[in-house]
Amino acid sequence: MAVMNLVEAIRETLRAEMRRDPDVWIVGEDVGKKGGVFGATLGLYDEFGPERVQDSPLAESAIGGVGIGAALYGTKPVCEIQFADFIFPAMNQIVSEAAKMRYRSNGAWSVPMVIRAPFGGGVHGGLYHSQSVEQYFTNTAGLKVVVPATPYDAKGLLTAAIRDPDPVLFFEHKGLYRAVKGEVPEEDYVIPIGRAEVKRDGTDITVISYGKTLHFCLQAADLLEKEGYSALVLDLRTLLPLDKEEIVAAARKTGKVLIVHEASKTHGIGAEVAAIIAEECLFDLDAPIQRLCGPDVPAMPYADPMEKFYMLSTEKCLAAMRQLAQF
């Protein structure tokens, strides 16, 4: 079995799906000859040609709009937004058109489109290359929002996203692209969208996260184990729809819940997860539900110490997990 990093797993999944299904094609800025700024589409232009791997103008509204039109026409576009920070010009296309197409046409039409976008900070990207944008989309019914944290999950989830008959936003944390490696089977497999996964079992506290911060939590859980506390770590993997069953089961198991994400705290995923837990299993709770999230400031600072201050880390997660374990 091949060991891959996250971006390799995504590239190989795109290749496999394009080989399998001639309707699958790619559109985005610099995705063609250059192979994308992160190399996610490297070599695909050579293999599949300019018609199936198309460079777009620097206009995200066009990428979104073209994707919707092509999807309605019967193809399966995989759009790449070069940085998730730039997705907002396509907001109208995504929220008002793609998300609502099936509903508004009474099921006659659907938009089988995937929009991939690298997001997240910690890479000295500054204001315009560090944002976590997933929360702008997770209150839009009609969309699916997926965030893989491992190469294995990336392949299974991207395969599911491409084959999904409705629009899927597929957010890849750019800080994980080359930082996380794992075995990825060559054969075809699908991880269903909407399923969370326990990445680490435990009995004292439950930590719920996704994306890059999931790895902070896993590392912190190893450190916490040495202090005598056992942490269950749940990877949400899909933010919309949330896997209520797994969330509630994980919360019930320990009664102490910490939700961790890089995106800002207010009106965030953590708030929604906390609300689900409060609604479903109050009488299993042994501590106030905790959140450790990005601060509510307008943007990721560029200066190195300020970026570190903004970003979560293994140490910050460990401190929050320890506090909850001791409560």
Partner: protein, 464 residues
Amino acid sequence: MPQLGESVTEGTIHRWLVAPGDLVKRYQPIAEVITDKVNAEIPCPVAGRIISLDVPEGSTVPVGTRIATILTEEEAAHAGSAPAGPSAPAEAVAETAPAETGSAGAAVASAGAASAGTAAPGSGGTATAVIAPPPRTAGGRYSPAVVRLAQEHGVDLSRVHGTGLGGRITRKDVEAYIEAQRASASAPPAQAVAPAAAAASAPAPEPPSAPVTGVPFAAPAPAGYPVRSGPGDRVIPVDPVRRRIANKMVQSKHEAPHAWTMMRVDVTDLVRLREQVNPEFRRQHGLSLSYMPFFIKAVVESLKEYPILNSQWAGDHIVVKQEINISIAVATEEALAVPVIKNADRLSIAGLNLAVADLVARARAGKLTVDDVSGGTFTVNNTGAFGSFLSAPIINYPQAAILSFEAITKTPVVLENDAIAIRSIMNICLSLDHRILDGLVCARFLQAVKRRLESYGPGNVSLY
């Protein structure tokens, strides 16, 4: 739940005498509460309107638990003078009242007071009158999971050791406690073995000492000792009074190592004395003169001679009580009451007779007050009244000893001159806490009681 007497740690709401919405006066009884062997009425500490009854009838709660919420008249007045206008006091009351503690309601009340300009000084902090101080904040707050587990498994949280932040009881603590209870319940029942061993050979060696101190008293059904009811059997639910008696007896038998001794007393002269004076006494007082005041008199005088019998075990020291307050066991059809004659050493025979008659009458009528049953330092038990010839009473914990007076029976005895005579003979039986008392002092005490009883006769004892 107010503290209804010494060493009372909880009370059962027997009956509510008021309902939410009722206006109550200060000192008006609002509930009947059952504590150790008595029914007591709780007087209302303030005048106002009952907002809620927070403990249902039949529930037993620790002292200090809030049992009811009352809106005081002052608050009602302030709420009524709020901008809503004078016609809306009831609504205003309803809105401010449910505030958990003073804060929210107080804010409304004092705001209303400020706008009306008629505030009674210092009234802001009493938005809800809580009958007892609220439970300690740190120890009294539990997470939903802890409360649910405790309810599902009948766990008394005051027995659970908290390992969380600041001693907080965590869900894991409760789970561990339940697990430990389950493990100890399924362990071989050491207590069940002990009585059998004791019965087999009287001076049985100490049974393998099972740690019994942690066992809840009079537990509903000891595991490993299933009691099954078959067809035709009658099942009597254990009411709070029966439960109290059971707990008290188990506690005494568990904690105080009982020893027992008995002496024979010749009360021929006392019987003659009583027969002689009783008709006249009854005419004067409308009340028969019983033997009890003579027994009590003999006891209190002997206690003065041997004050160590009038004491209590306190772990690392012994408290010898100054007052001599005699508890008397009074049997009723349903239960047992043990009211107290305070300062019994200051009463005459006639005074004691009246005190006994009064307490017995009120015990049988269920009218004993908390004060009537607290403060006892030594217990006497007139078991002879039911014809008992010999008994081994259980000490009225935490007292040091209990003395029972058995039936007076005409018995042939050998006198000092070797003549055989028919005399009125009575056994007196003493159970003693062997942690405090030893055989010698108890024998001397019994001798003193015996000597006094045998000395009572026609013409040599003053009734007044």
